[in-house]
């Protein structure tokens, strides 16, 4: 069976991202998954167990300080060379900003087609995407080259399939053109142990109805009780209630969790664009005419400052 390259994404705090395990799971349907680690010295060793658990037959390790020292160009350069030498059946990346950017450069380097934000990929290479605020389902394929696909987090359920991967080192040879956008500082802003927004199984999001920044503590309290990520509508972000990196919707993140709890969010079409593929949606809103009720599985028309504290108390009671 042909190799399928899976580009690994990881964070400092949590290691291999869940989306990478989802990609390995999807890759097994298409061929033999090979994980590609593009990172600093020692990056691959720390990830080997996790990648093996999810079925990586091979781990390609490209490790050099320079890989992390610049925006995606070095990663694309290493990956392009690898694709040319192993001729994989497909290349899968996460549909994150970085995943898409690497894929974009790779597409130009190889003259290869590119499909982004894919939610399903079948064995014949036909990809499913949902576009225009998730209102239209599109089936598409790469017509020139191999399937080069970025997959939306939470689109696939990660399933372990233990393997014993062979490690192969890749030499990192970069040209000057790969080293033009230099990262001079990385500043950690987000503290705490909340899951990453696009990867979380549960997202609790607040909108304009939350009222002010201080009241977002209530949204956070419910989120922490459920092990959820916190999201915010654009109205809440623009009003300064919550930081932009947590914005869900058209000019923010697209999420697809098992459960999305919308608090004080009316449901502008631009917000729905970022969350309506959530499996289950719960809404609390004062306005019974709020558009979001139209796609809500369970809605409470009421004051979120009464409903949410009661729900928090009830969850605590049941947890004992």
């Amino acid at each position: 069976m042909a190799e399928v390259l899976v580009v690994v994404e990881a964070t400092q705090a949590f290691g291999v991202k869940k989306v990478t395990l989802e990609l390995l799971t999807a890759a097994r349907e298409l061929g033999e998954p090979s994980a590609v680690v593009l990172g600093g010295p020692g990056a691959a060793a720390a990830m080997t167990d996790k990648l093996a658990e999810y079925g990586a037959r091979k781990i390609y390790a490209a490790e050099a300080e320079e890989i992390n020292g610049y925006l995606v160009a070095p990663k694309a350069a290493v990956l392009a060379k690898l694709v040319q030498s192993v001729a994989p059946a497909a290349v899968l990346l996460a549909s994150s900003q970085e995943g898409k950017e690497i894929a974009g450069r790779l597409a130009v380097k190889l003259g290869n087609g590119l499909l982004t934000d894919v939610v399903d990929l079948d064995a014949s290479g036909v990809a499913t995407q949902v576009v225009f605020a998730d209102s239209i389902i599109v089936k598409s394929k790469v017509s020139k080259g191999i399937p080069l696909v970025t997959v939306r987090p939470n689109a696939v359920t990660p399933v372990p399939a233990p393997a014993t991967p062979i490690r192969e080192e890749l030499t990192v040879e970069l040209s000057e053109a790969d080293k033009l956008a230099k990262v001079v500082d990385r500043v950690a802003e987000q503290k705490g142990a909340r899951p990453e927004l696009t990867e979380a199984s549960i997202v609790v999001a607040g909108g304009r109805g939350v009222g002010d920044a201080d009241s977002f503590k209530l949204v956070e309290e419910l989120a922490d009780l459920l092990g959820a990520a916190v999201g915010a509508s654009r109205a809440a972000v623009d009003s300064g209630f919550y930081p932009h990196q947590f914005q869900v919707g058209q000019t923010g993140k697209t999420v697809s969790p098992q459960l999305y709890i919308a608090l004080g969010i009316s449901g502008a079409i631009q917000h729905l664009a970022g969350m309506q593929t959530s499996k289950t949606i719960i809404t609390v809103n004062k306005d019974e005419e709020a558009p979001i009720f139209g796609l809500t599985d369970f809605g409470v028309v009421g004051d979120l400052f009464k409903v949410v504290p009661q729900a928090i108390e009830e969850i605590r009671r049941r947890k004992g």
Partner: protein, 259 residues
Amino acid sequence: MKIVVLVKQVPDSGVERHLNGDDNTTDRVSAGNVINEMDEYAIEEALQVQQRHGGEVIVLTMGPAHATESIRKALSMGPDSAVHVVDDALRGSCAVATSKVLAAAIGQIGPDLVLCGAESTDGRVQVMPHMIAEWLGVAALTGARKLTVEGSALTIERQTDEGYEVVTAATPAVVSVWDTINEPRYPSFKGIMSAKKKPLETRSLADLGIDPAEVGFDGATSAVVEHSKRPPRQAGHKVTDSGDGGVQMVDFMAAEKFV
């Protein structure tokens, strides 16, 4: 400093949008077309850089003939001139071909700085800045929430999931911006009037030296096979809180095994 701002005309994302039944392309004819929202932030940033450092701001658009409406609107905010790449053979172009065409047009203009929105509201692909930079062999600084220009040195702050990064590059470079970077100005009456007289040049594929076989449907590296309307979500159960709304919500969560 010579600045090119990429402006894309997109179907208004605030209303229902469609794909054409015959060839699966975006319906840009019956749609209410507007400037891609994020591009307005790129225009504003270009004008602010121009205010501080001088030079000129040129709008660059690839799109069908009716994209001129959006170009004039962009010019009404303050840019000096515009270039419109328009050619029937471009219909159906994929991202790779689009980036090639834009890179060729940018190459002819020869700017120090290319500014664009981080994503378009129709495609939402986010790859154009890196693709263009790849063709041109220049730096791409993407997702800026802050841009500083000092001589030929560019510095951006970009939001990441874990915080932010500070990234530098020398001109020429492509910089994409998010809507956190500034607050776009509204066109003044004077701006609207003068936009009608500003130079707007059109360029064809022949002008750019690109073979039509490399773009459009013929040159596309990916293709849409089919599309269908996604069945709308059905509204479920709705209760009005009469004192036990929170408990009812938890009952539902328990039934769905979330608690």
